[in-house]
Structure formats: C-alpha cells, structure tokens
Subunit: 455 residues, 2 copies
Amino acid sequence: MPISTEHEPTKKHLRELAEDLETGKLAELKHLLHALTPGEIADLLEALKPADRQVVWSLLPSEIAGEVLVELGEEARASLIRKIEETRSEELAEAAGTLDPDDLADILEDLPEKIREQVIRSLSQNDRSRLERVMSFSEDTAGNLMHTDTITVRPDVTLDVVLRYLRRRGELPDLTDSLYVVDINDRLIGILPLSVLLTNPPDKTVRELMITDIEAIPADLSASEVAMLFEHHDWVSAPVVDQKGRLLGRITVDDVVDVIRDEADHTLMSTAGLSEEEDMMAPAAESAKRRAVWLGVNLVTAFLAAWVIGLFEETIQKEVALAVLMPIVASMGGIAGTQTLTLVIRGLALRQIGATNLFVLLNKEVAVAFLNGVLWAIVVGLIAAVWFQAIHIGILIATAMIINLLCAALAGVTIPLLLDRVGIDPALAGGVLLTTVTDVVGFMAFLGLATWWLT
Amino acid sequence: MPISTEHEPTKKHLRELAEDLETGKLAELKHLLHALTPGEIADLLEALKPADRQVVWSLLPSEIAGEVLVELGEEARASLIRKIEETRSEELAEAAGTLDPDDLADILEDLPEKIREQVIRSLSQNDRSRLERVMSFSEDTAGNLMHTDTITVRPDVTLDVVLRYLRRRGELPDLTDSLYVVDINDRLIGILPLSVLLTNPPDKTVRELMITDIEAIPADLSASEVAMLFEHHDWVSAPVVDQKGRLLGRITVDDVVDVIRDEADHTLMSTAGLSEEEDMMAPAAESAKRRAVWLGVNLVTAFLAAWVIGLFEETIQKEVALAVLMPIVASMGGIAGTQTLTLVIRGLALRQIGATNLFVLLNKEVAVAFLNGVLWAIVVGLIAAVWFQAIHIGILIATAMIINLLCAALAGVTIPLLLDRVGIDPALAGGVLLTTVTDVVGFMAFLGLATWWLT
C-alpha cells in the first residue's frame, strides 16, 4: 500500500540530519531532504548551527532551494543568504529565479543588491509587473499577502464552457476552491465555488449560479484582520480587490495560517522582549547585542525600585525583617498583575475589549484582586508574624499586599489599553510597565506603612 | 454591486450590540446577529457579561444557536449552558439537535445529563454511531478532530461517472478539495483532488489519475502533530485512517486553524498561570478561586527568596545599601533568564531542540549571558559605587550579577527541557521555577559575597 501513515517528527529528522552531517554521508542526506517539504526543511535548518545550514542548503534540490529561503525565519534567512553569497552567489540567484513573483517579493529585500538586480532582469515583463504590484503594498496588508494566480470567468458562459476551459487549461493553482467572476472592467461580481461547478447541470450559466453575497478583501486591510475573517468564515481562499472593486488577486488559507502563527509567536516572544524572527542559533555576539537593549530598559525599572527602597534606609536599619519580607509584597503584586495583563492582551488581540465592557472588566479584575489579596494577605501576614514574632509585621505586610494587588489589577487593565491606544505593542511594553508599578507600589506601601507605624 | 468590502471589526459590532441591548432594540439586535457568522457571534458573546450573553443567545436564529455554542470558549460555554438550562432548556436541546455529530461531540460533555440523553435519543442510528466513533477518540487527537463527511469513489470508474455522481448528489461538504478513493474493504488507496477531476478528460479512470503518494493521518496522532503536517504541506483537508488503513474521516484546515490558535493561546496564558479557556467576563469569585492556586505556588517561591535573605540579616543590618540594591540582582537575572526560557519554549513547540543541538544552544545562551552580564555588571557596578560612595559595593553587585545571569541562562535552557521530558508543560511551570532559581541565586550570591567580604 503506497499510503503512508508514518509521520516522522522533526525531531527524528533532526537526529538523522545531524548524523549524516557528522559522518559526511551526503548521499543519504540528499535522500532525506528529497522526502521533505520546504517548510519542514526550513524548520530543520533553523535548528542547525549556521555553518551546517550552509552545507545542507547547498545539497537541496534546486527547484525547492528558493522556497526553503521563503519559509525560513527572517533572521535565519538573512544570515544564511550572507553566507551563501560569499561562496555560491550563482546558486542563490538561481534559487531566487525559481520563485513566483509573490514569493520572490517576500525575500527580495534580503537579497544582495547585485543578485536582486540579476533576478529582476531575468523576469518576464508580466512577472515583473506582478512583482511590482505585490511590492507596492506595505507589509502586513492583504495586498502583500495575496497571490495573483486567480482563475477568472465571465458571467454569461455556461458551466459546460467553464469545464471545457479548465480541461484545456490544465492544472489549477494550489488551493483553488473558487473561480472568480469578473465583468469587462475586471470588477469582481461574484464567485463560482468548484463545488457549485461540480454539482449543477452543465447548461446553466455562471450568472445563474455564482454567489454574489460575498465579502471581498480590500487590498489595504491589515493581515491580522484578514486572519480574523478567514477564521470566522472558514475560507480556503478569498478574493482581494482594489478600491474600485477590481480583482487584484487572492489570499489562500496556507498563508493565513502563517500569519496566525507569526502573530502568536510575536505576542509570546514580545513578552520577553524578543522578536518573533529571533534566530535560535544566531552567533552569541549578535544575540547579546539585540537582547542588551531589553535588559537596559528593565534595569531602569530595577533602579527605580531600588531608589524607592533607598528612601526607607533608616526604617530598614531599625527593622531588618522588612528587608527580608519586602520582595514578597512586590513579587505577589507582579504575579497577580501579570494575570490581568495577559488576559487583557488576549482580549485586545481578539478585539473583545471596548468602551462598552471596559468597566465591567475593570470591576471584575479589581474584585478578583481584592478577594485574592485578602486571602493571601492573611496567609502571608500570619506566617510573617510568627516568623518574626511580631504582630505588627504581620499587619503591615498584609495591608501592603492588599494595596499592591489592587493597584496591580488597575495597572493590568489600564496599561495595555493605554499602550494600544497610542500604538505601542502591549505584549512588548506591558510587562515592564506593570512590574514598575507593582515594584514601586509594593515597596512604597510596605516600607512607607512601616515607617509611619514605627515613628 | 453586491460585493461588500466593508469589514466591520468585532469592536464596532460590540458597540452596536451594547447599544441595542441597553436601549432594548431587540429587532435591530436580531438583524445584526443575522449578518454574523457563528464564530463572530461567539467572539462577541465572550466580550459580554454573563447576563447579557443569555439575552443575546436567546435571540439567535435557531439554525446557528448550536454552532455558536460550539465556537465559544469552554468556560464561557459551560456557564452559558448552566444559565440557559434554568429557563430555556427546551431551546438548548433544540440547538444541540441541529448540530452534526462531529460538532455535537465537542459540546456533549457540557450539556446537562437530561438534555444530553434527549439529544442522543433524537439522533438517527447512523448519526448516533458517528457520534460514538468520534467520542471514542481522546481529545486532542486526529480522531477527535475529524469529520466523517467524506465523499468516496471507487478506482475503476471514469471521471465522467464521478462527475455525474456529484451532480446527482448535489452539494459537497464544506472544504471538500479531494474525493477519497477506497477499495472494497474501505481502505484508502488514493485521493482524487477536485482540480485533477476538473482538468482531465472525462473518459480517464480514477485509478489512472488518483494520487497515491500521500500521507494519511493515523487517528491517534496528536492534534498538534496534525497541525504541523497541515502547515508543512499546505493542505486544505486530509484523510484520517485507522491502523488497518481504513478511511475513518477527514480533517479540514478550518479546524486546524483552531488548533493552532488554541495552542498559541495555551502557551501565552500558561506563562501567567491561566487556562486558554479562561472566561474574561467570568464572575469575580470564580476567577479568584482559579487564580488563587497560581498565587499560592508563586508565594512559595517568594518565601524561599525571603528565607535566603533572612540568612543574611546581620550583614544587611551592617550595610543597608545591600537591601536597597539586592532586588536589582534578582530581577536582572529573572529578565535575562526569561528570554532564554521563552526561546527554548518556542523551540520545543516547533520540535527544533533535540540531543544533537542542545549543547550548541546551551553554549550560545551561556555566552550571551556572559556578554550581557559583563556589560550590565559594569554599568550597575559603577552606578552602585557612586550612589553609595563605596567601591566594594560596586564590585560585589557586579560579580553577583554575572553569576546570576550565567545561572539564569543555564536554568533557562535546562528547566524547560527537563519539564518537557517529565511531561509537565514548560510554559506553565517554567517561569516559576526559573524565577526561583534567579531569586535564590541572586540574593545568595550578592548577600553571600557581601558577608564574606565584610567579615
């Protein structure tokens, strides 16, 4: 039976790849690479150290070498291209030359000037104008995401004519689930799903059967809105039109899946101050440079907290127990605030938070903070009072904790909303700002209350 | 022109919905709901407070009320069902009755016992066995994800026969891009993409044109592996088979998109100790209860850190500057460690980390930590020395920072790998454990070194 149900996970491929590389079994390596899709190979390359990537790439079948470049993460791609350029710039031009204009657009900027010109020169007039059209839309818009490989039909022909046309034409573009019906001005007037074409009498006309109640995607819609539309409508592909309703191309679900994966990656990596394009195996010096900025930003927060503590040096001198316990107040505020923050960041991504429900949410989060604040304040207060044999320490830390958790909830809701309003990514900056609030309020409340109590 | 390029985002719908609810314009509300997909309505419901959800749900067109339940997050669904059951249990049974068995399986557990039985009794024999089959696979496997609405053809018929069969049959199931070719034992022997059917002469047989070099998905493959296969192969749908290669059903890309979104949500929410099913608008008491556990776990970490500080009470008493500066050492370690941790968590999710590249990665992360450790240690050391007019404070904090950043890198790589090995979700537990390490090491290194220096 030729049907394979063996799914070898990336991890196993990775092991084989590493073995073949180490033992120099290049023939076997080539064999392995032949069995994989460009996406799988890209995943594998990203897991290799830069020197190995170059070796593997040069062994790729030439018809997919370009596609593999397209599938790689931006950073890994840029560094691989730099490496290949030094020794095999001819192969690079060749690989880029195999790409269709829509894919080429994705990597064009990463190509060295010389090769870029060479590749563009070798395009047909038609391909060159397709490339220019895609490049004219800014990144992360529908226009940049679309492919131009649509099949269009006229409304007045019969299904039989369409069927004969398709047979003469041969192969359909990947993920074609609908033909697009356009008028003489190229304006989209309907779509004809293949399923309609296949299940209706051949003598009917396209006009009789085409679906006109559809949403076409404007070319300037953001990629993230496009992804939401696909998710809500379960589309396989959707037409992209310009402001006059003229058909420009189509977006397919495979590219939408990449958008969704990238957005999720972006949110996760941003919370740690990393880029979703971060190359896991980049040289240490490069990684260190990129991450240094994030550490510097967080250092400002840390010094701010230290400065607050410094205000109360005398109090701490009198009662060292305060120094021992103060990180508990700050850290519990940070943890509780991060829960609220994360919930709001997700709600913003799903467009589920607006003026109408903001106060319901804020009330709820403050109520949650109050309930948990009281619960854990009692626990922490009791432990602290017993530990240091001092009831006043217990009362102080309990009160400070409740104050800090309430502020954490307020900050957790308002910070991401404010950042979103001014156009800063809440996933990136939200955490730092929240920690600043919970550290400052935590130390200030605990040490301030103690100072007031002890004098 | 009937083609709409107006894309009203959820936020706008939310505003309209809230206005209609407030002013009691139920007719307009119904009109709005009619224009939306079940996925969009579910997103809107999740943004409403529980009482409003019930009102809106009862206004839904009866043919989509069931689908909306399927699309809701688990927690929001369970609470809505509880509410509806009290007043409108008949409608609930009706809504569930409109679902096909594959969708019904997703919400069956949330239905109250009585309604569950009623719905199952009302199913046809055929539907009941379909339901049982889907329910027999555990959650998050291909078998649970699949639908059973496949179209199968025999290998020996001509395309013409297939075309006539499809016309007689009428409508195809949503997202049908291939027909499945099975032998008399129902074993999958190939697939016939619609594009092949449409672009070849009608007198050819299915056997001549079917694609046999395909990967079928075993029913017990995990949902996350299924998603990777779809991403790497750009599939619209794929057949699911049992161990003997018999066709069981098919998985479509719209469900895979949900898997990808859920997994990403799971990772993000887990880092804050939340569930991806968390209901943003749940009653405060419920949310507080669920989140209390996470705060409790983190409290243990906080007390551990406090205990470490407590070991050095005398030293702090002598030199209060230590208390002022110690959070800087701990927090910078936490930030740097979280960067490594996040990178490794993503690498694990993409199956890009294995025995072969573990040490390359570890070396790189330690090198990054060293470079940034030295850089920021110098900055912090200088500031501290100037602030407290004491060179030894500067030297102490600089040394402690380098130590802590190195430990943070080690912990950032090893903790998620160990957790993954023992089957604990690194996104959930990684952060707490990492912070424990960076807090303990940070305070221990700084205060320990200071104690040794000062005595």
